[in-house]
Symmetry: C2
């Protein structure tokens, strides 16, 4: 009888513990009136009531989370537009200054070199002093968070602020440091998503769902979509960036939010006077009648092979410099204490090399990155232009009179190591766009080379002389960036950036070939190398570095001090368990000898049990008062870490218990999983 | 000592049981020589040796499965091309006959009606007599198989043969029965995939992987890709068609195989003289300078709402007729015994209505489906054409002198119920393309209506009079077909079919809006309704029909007669277990009283144990001889069916054991899961 009474009491108390479900409006109002310290109580109450009514109206149309997705897309697009606007203004200021100093080479040199150096120094010191987590691309961190590991530092408001301002400085440094926008933008969008998700969970009527993960996946798609106004590649990117499985639950939200972002971004460009209607960012005018001959398919496949091979070389250099900056004494010192100085030095060095009156004239350094891409994607062959004087040359790749493809070759050779060097800069920067442009240059070089060879009469086939080098540049861009990042979404990105669908199949073919070359031999991708170098707890990257590691049975890596309660535990034992453990779910075993797992109790119930037994000073047993919840799926100690990781993310449980023949041997939570993966990462 | 000896023996015997790993070549050769019944032994041995060498060479470049993926794409594309070729010839024959009978209306009527009626009767009787599983679209079945349920009937060679020939007949019946190709093609591609997967697993060096599921996912992508030469929408389709999770392992294979398929399909069309180069199937010429005004975005959203609303109506009619054909006596009788007669009657009825000399003239029935889509996607407004006599009218939608949009309206009204009726035909047929064309007509009607209203001077805004109705038709097609099937891949399909990227964002917007309308209120999609009507064991469809069902705890639905062995079981008990159970993994418990689950033994080991104890007539215990394998993840009886389903497909295990507090209570295998879901489906 007593037991049943106690249980009734428990149920009643639980109801008091979760009172928000019923009559929330009036409850909130009374709370508000009751607090004498808050000013304007009446106004606040009225406003709150209106807000609640608004929530009801909005909630009637569709779930609260959909407004969150729309807001995420729109906010990120606004951020993206604002950033583009500021960067354009800063770049124009630099150009204006440089042009006004025409005639005085020394002053021009200082203007050319000190401007980016200062900007880089500002970005570096900014991120060093305010939030050190804001440096780099952010995509490795986003991937880790999408795999379920919590990293609150990377989602803080300070980080968002720092990353936004730092990225503006980096982009304003222009084509001398040659860094991009996508990666940090995906990170920025994740931070916006994290805030909106908190907001949504506050506004939703206390459904106990964990929507943060969902918002993160959506945010990854939105980041790409609102950076370029490219919704479909954004969604594909978010599919690729996932750990091992893409849940179809995220599919529609991703598309919806990405469409909102892309639409807003393009509408803003229309309103700012960039174009008469919604258009692609790098609109091209390829001939539509005969985009390419069927035989050119082979040349596109060759381009894919070339891009794959060059990407392997690039990735090797990148891994080398990542190791070098960690082992070389001077680098380590500079990168830990004198980040601003280091950034300024590197930017100065890069700017000196690209100064247009010296080596820069051989690599078209006067163009901004946007101009570079536009000129590379132009459909008119450069060789034809130099022959035909009536067509005014669109570009100045061949300013010094040398043939255009020679300066293209110099550009490729120099940019390779300059890009690798720029990747070491400790400031917020994206590494995708530079790689994309590099690939475009590779494709253009191949096409111009073939056109040149066939126009000089070595082959009698006229077909090869009239090919469209713009198409090759586009395919090369997608193939090279795809190979470097081990992804296929650049195919869609290339199409969406140019609005050019006629080359879809060749671009896909080239990217697949390049990916095949780059992935062969289980080589790590660009982001994998960064993850390993930063020791992030990202399982797939670790698997690339040491394939056998994640197959370790979890029995070998479980934590040692496991808190458990026996069924017949008294208040003293419960008090001890509550003090030593921080988990919300505490396992209950039959007895400490048999260790047969019965289920778990929730921490709040334990606290209630303690308060109860203190008040009534009765010596009740745990199973008489608390409800022992049955466990969900159990792991066995022979499951591998990878399986445990997948099951944890799939089941959506907070805690998974590990039992061997019914006996409790451990438990896996996300913090525990993070610890395990970090331990694994240290072994590399 | 005896125990260790026995264990050693076990290990040795296991090695004998799996001898294929070592020296396979010589082993095969000796087997071949040893069999005196086979002719040409020497030649066969030589050929086999060469094949093995070839396999080594191929295997050095990449895994065997990649050749499988390439072969899958190429074979499916060849099938698709052959089908298109035959259908075109059959359609041309019909048209030639009809034209030659010009002047004699009665003969023309018979030609018009009997030709499709006969073809439908042939297709129906063919599939009824040879393989009844070949009727319908096949996508519901493919979705079920992708969810892990095995349905060997749907993958048989007979089915493939029947489906291919039946589909040719259905398509040759033309626009009178108005059925499409995609669905059955996805099914055909799955069958090809299943065969190639068997072949690959034979050729691979006996890796114990289960590659069949992988090949199926890839086949779904290839089906769409080689049907239209649209690789990217194929991949998106295969993401959408999955049950709940898309494994990233499939991502690259899908793209690779889809690219192979699309490339082959387009190359074949080039070689057959359809075009000078690889082009989109329905290439359009939209104006590129100003594809649409920013304000038109709103009109596209309205179009999405309209398409969503009409799709709800269409789906309601479809569900109604599915129920009606199961309850109405005459329909049930016709559809079970007289399938050919039923098909012929329905086709005759449809053809009578579309006869060009009667009602058909108001709905452009003389056009084939391809011509219909081409005319609908034309960028020139019809209203302008009728005003301007100098532009020759491209189409004959207004053959009777009435305005084009009136016949468009008649087309829409009539086709709605004709389409619903055609869906009941028991023959291999796709339902996607008709819906796509219907949506295009909807979009065209809206655009023509707006253009007509604004050209008659009701609005002063010239902008609305000059809109491009082709763009609206495209958006309508994607939105309506997306809403009917609850998918978003039609956006990409619309883009890839026309090669028109300028309208990507409005199309996406319209499709998202239409999907939102169609999915509201947890309504089932077209395929969900088919799954439920056919009682297929597809969990997500069941969830739509009865949301609480899959949340049933598995403890309530477990099978009753569970075979288990105790640790100390003797030969008699093992013999009994082997006789009563067919599972490969048989659970071992501590003792029959405690029921504590220790692990499982493999069936071959049990058989070996029996043979062993017979031979030596020793009375050994099970745990002395057989190795008891530890279990992987355990389920608890409180896990829901949905969780069990996800974990089963994720872990990739054959068997999952269900234990409560360490005690074995049941096991879940795929056949068991199929039984459970089928039981659930019966409850609806």
């Amino acid at each position: 009888q007593t037991i049943i009474d106690a249980l009734h009491e428990t149920v009643r108390q639980t109801a008091i513990w979760e009172p928000e479900n019923q009559s929330e409006t009036s409850h909130n109002k009374t709370l508000l009136f009751a607090d004498p310290m808050k000013p304007c109580r009446r106004t606040r109450a009225v406003v709150k009531e209106w807000l609640l009514k608004l929530r009801c109206c909005l909630g009637a149309v569709c779930g609260m989370e959909w407004y969150g997705y729309a807001a995420l897309g729109i906010l990120t697009a606004i951020l993206s537009f604002l950033m583009d606007l500021s960067v354009t203004k800063l770049l124009r200021a630099h150009r204006w200054l440089y042009m006004n100093l025409e005639g005085n080479t020394l002053l021009q040199f200082f203007c050319w070199t000190l401007y980016p150096a200062c900007l880089c120094a500002v970005a570096s010191s900014f991120s060093h002093n305010i939030c050190p987590f804001s440096t780099g691309s952010g995509i490795p961190e986003v991937r880790t968070m999408l795999a379920g590991i919590e990293m609150p530092h990377y989602l803080s408001l300070t980080n968002m602020f720092t990353k936004f301002l730092g990225l503006i400085c980096t982009l304003a440094a222009g084509s001398t440091v040659f860094l991009g926008k996508v990666g940090p933008f995906v990170h920025l969008s994740t931070m916006v998503g994290a805030y909106l998700s908190t907001l949504c969970s506050l506004m939703r009527e206390h459904k106990k769902e964990k929507a943060a993960g969902e918002m993160m996946v959506v945010a990854a798609a939105v980041g790409v979509a609102s950076c370029f106004g490219a919704p479909i590649s954004g969604v594909l990117f978010s599919v690729e960036v996932m750990c091992s499985h893409f849940s179809l639950r995220y599919y529609c939200p991703c598309f919806f939010s990405a469409a909102c972002g892309a639409l807003t971004f393009r509408l803003f460009s229309v309103w700012s006077g960039d174009g008469e209607t919604l258009q692609a960012l790098f609109k091209t005018n390829f001939p539509t009648a005969l985009p390419f001959y069927p035989l050119e398919i082979l040349l596109f496949a060759c381009l894919g092979l070339l891009c794959g091979a060059v990407s392997c070389c690039y990735l090797f250099c990148h891994r080398w410099i990542l190791r070098f900056t960690k082992t070389s004494g001077i680098f380590v010192m500079m990168l830990t204490t004198e980040k601003a100085l280091y950034s300024a030095t590197v930017a100065f060095l890069l700017a000196t090399l690209t100064f247009p009156h010296s080596a820069g004239q051989y690599m078209a350094s006067q163009h901004t990155m946007k101009q570079l891409l536009t000129t590379l994607l132009d459909s008119r062959p450069w060789s034809a232009q130099s022959h035909n004087a009536s067509v005014e040359p669109l570009l100045e790749w061949s300013s010094s009179g040398s043939p255009a493809y020679l300066s293209l070759a110099v550009f490729l050779l120099m940019k390779m190591w300059m890009l690798v060097l720029a990747c070491t800069l400790p400031l917020p920067a994206g590494y995708f766009m530079p790689v994309f442009i590099y690939g475009a240059a590779l494709g253009r070089l191949l096409a111009e080379g073939v056109a040149h060879v066939s126009s000089t009469g070595l082959t009698s086939d006229q077909q090869w002389a009239s090919l469209n080098p713009g198409g090759y540049a586009l395919a090369g861009a997608a193939a090279f960036s795809g190979a470097v990042t081990h992804t296929l979404s650049p195919v869609l990105l290339a199409i969406e950036l140019t609005g050019q669908f006629s080359h879809a199949v060749p671009i896909l073919l080239a990217t697949l070939t390049a990916n095949a070359v780059a992935r062969s031999g289980n080589r790590p991708s660009f982001y994998d190398a960064l993850s390993v170098s930063k020791s992030l707890p990202h399982l797939p990257s670790l698997m690339k570095a040491r394939p056998q590691l994640p197959s370790t049975p979890i029995g070998q890596v479980l934590g040692v001090n496991l808190v458990r309660l026996q069924k017949a535990a008294g208040p003293a034992e419960v008090q001890h368990a509550v003090n030593t453990s921080t988990d919300t779910e505490i396992p209950v075993v039959d007895s400490l000898e048999s260790q047969i797992l019965l289920g778990f109790v929730l921490r709040p119930h334990l606290l209630m049990f303690l308060r109860h037994s203190e008040a009534e000073s009765l010596d009740k047993r745990l199973d008489e008062v608390c409800c022992i919840h049955p466990t969900s799926a159990l792991l066995s100690p022979h499951n591998t870490i990878q399986e445990a990781h997948s099951i944890l993310s799939l089941v959506g449980a907070e805690t998974l218990f590990v039992a061997d023949r019914g006996r409790l041997v451990g438990l896996i939570t996300w913090p525990e999983m993070k610890r395990i993966i970090e331990d694994l990462a240290k072994e590399i």
